[in-house]
Structures are given as structure tokens and as C-alpha cells.
């Protein structure tokens, strides 16, 4: 067996769970699954969001009434989820760009995945704090 063939076999053995593929079940596959789910979710939210914003052409009161529901605890929590989803999609989209256009990108795809997940946590912790602070204070703090 040639050198390159045995190298390929080693990589295949490392990347697979008896399936013989490099990709299936790899973190790279899950990063794509999450990219797809967050993208579709964001697209559906955009549909609703353009409709609710269009209420500014109906009347200030109509708009304010709907926006008030965005300030309730449950919707506030959904908001954090949505921001988290969009942030993941944006960071992973940047990673996809680097894999496609940067000469070192394909080799560094996995370290870049851990990096964007790290950035996601670092941004989401204070982000969630600022988004939920007032709701939590009003629910439990009594003012």
C-alpha cells in the first residue's frame, strides 16, 4: 500500500465510527446541522418581524401594543434564544468563509469551531444578563 493510501485510511479510521466516512458524526457535521437550523429559524422570525414592524404604518398604538408583548418574561426568554441562534449562525458563517477562502482555513476548521463556540459563550453571558436583567428584577425584586 502506498504512503498516501495508508494515511487516508488512518484519517478515515480516526474520523469515523465504523461507517467509513470522514464527515458523518464529526463535530464538523454538527456545526453544519446547527448552522442550518439557526438559519431557517432566523428566516421565519424575519417574516414575523417585518409584519410586526409594519404596524408603524397602521398606528403608533397598534405598534406599541404588539411591542409590549415582546417585553413579557416568556417572549424575553425567547429573545435570548433568538439572539443566541443568530450569533451562532453569524460566527459559524464567518468560519465557513475562512474555510472556503483562507489557505489555512480547511486545516484549522476544528480549532476555529472551538474558537467560535468560545466567543459565543463570552458574548452570550453578558448579553443574556443585559437582556434579562430588567425582567428578572421586576419578577423577583418587586420593582
Amino acid at each position: 500500500m502506498s504512503d498516501s493510501a495508508s494515511a487516508t485510511e488512518k484519517v478515515a479510521a480516526r474520523g469515523s465510527r465504523r461507517t467509513g466516512t470522514l464527515y458523518r458524526g464529526d463535530p464538523g457535521m454538527w456545526s453544519w446541522v446547527a448552522h442550518r437550523i439557526t438559519g431557517v429559524l432566523t428566516f421565519f422570525f424575519l417574516f414575523a418581524h417585518v409584519l410586526d414592524t409594519a404596524l408603524v404604518r397602521v398606528s403608533p398604538n397598534a405598534y406599541d401594543e404588539v411591542i409590549e408583548t415582546y417585553k413579557t418574561p416568556i417572549v424575553n426568554l425567547i429573545e435570548v434564544g433568538l439572539v443566541g441562534a443568530v450569533l451562532y449562525h453569524a460566527l459559524n458563517g464567518l468560519r465557513v468563509l475562512l474555510v472556503d477562502f483562507w489557505s489555512k482555513g480547511p486545516r484549522l476548521q476544528k480549532p476555529m469551531l472551538w474558537t467560535i463556540l468560545g466567543i459565543w459563550v463570552v458574548v452570550m453571558v453578558p448579553g443574556a444578563y443585559f437582556m434579562l436583567e430588567r425582567t428578572v428584577r421586576e419578577l423577583f425584586g418587586g420593582n
Partner: protein, 136 residues
């Protein structure tokens, strides 16, 4: 031992080129994605996180922002890029999962109709916004 490796670059695979539309679409996803990082993350930071987030948003807040051509242009660019990027992404998803030609066809018709509706309505709202509209 036989290895069942994927061979995406195998020359035996029949060429599946119909013009360059899919290449343009691939490139558009990347260029629009780059712009959306600034437009969308900036939008979320301002609207949801800074200075009280969603709690300070109401009609007067929107009126204040859309009095500036800068934010009008920001929101219009974001609307068009996000809707076409997301719609094109969903087109790929439909192509991947729809099993029957008829299902695929009707899902895409629904998608395109919704895209035209959202782009038209969103643009109309930005261009015709009127801060002096009666309160009720």
C-alpha cells in the same frame, strides 16, 4: 480491506452544471453573509442589548431612528440582504429534503411569494414611514 470513502472530486461523476447560477448563489451567500455580520449583529446589539434593550422600544423610538437616512439605509440593506440570503438558503433546504417534484415545486412557490411579500412590505414601510400619523 475496502474503504468506502466519498470521492467528491472523482472525474467519473457526471458534470451537473446548469449555467453558473449555483456558483453565483454560493458566492452571494458568502458576500451577503459578510455584510450581514455587521448589519445584523449591530442591529441586535443596539435593539436588544444596549441601553435597556427591547424595553425602550416603542413607536417614538422607531420614529427617532428612521428620521436618520443612515438608519433607513442600514435597515433597507439589512432587509434585502437577509431576506434574499435566508430565502436562498431555504431554497437549498427545500431542494435537499423535498422528495416529490410537486412538493418541491409548491414549497418553492410559497417561499418566493413570501419573499416578494416581505421585501415589498418592508421596503414600503421604510420609504413611507410617517412620524405624524394619528395615534389610534
Amino acid at each position: 480491506m475496502t474503504l468506502a470513502l466519498d470521492k467528491p472530486r472523482s472525474p467519473r461523476r457526471p458534470a451537473a452544471r446548469r449555467g453558473n447560477f449555483e456558483l453565483a448563489s454560493w458566492l452571494f451567500m458568502r458576500i451577503s453573509g459578510l455584510a450581514l455580520i455587521i448589519l445584523v449583529l449591530g442591529h441586535l446589539l443596539i435593539m436588544n442589548i444596549l441601553d435597556g434593550g427591547v424595553h425602550r422600544i416603542n413607536f417614538a423610538f422607531v420614529a427617532g431612528r428612521w428620521s436618520s437616512p443612515f438608519w433607513q439605509f442600514w435597515d433597507l440593506s439589512m432587509l434585502w440582504l437577509a431576506e434574499i440570503h435566508g430565502g436562498n438558503g431555504l431554497r437549498t433546504v427545500i431542494n435537499d429534503y423535498a422528495r416529490k417534484d410537486a412538493t418541491r415545486f409548491w414549497l418553492k412557490i410559497m417561499l418566493y411569494v413570501s419573499m416578494v411579500l416581505i421585501l415589498a412590505l418592508g421596503s414600503y414601510v421604510i420609504f413611507t414611514f410617517d412620524a405624524t400619523i394619528p395615534a389610534n
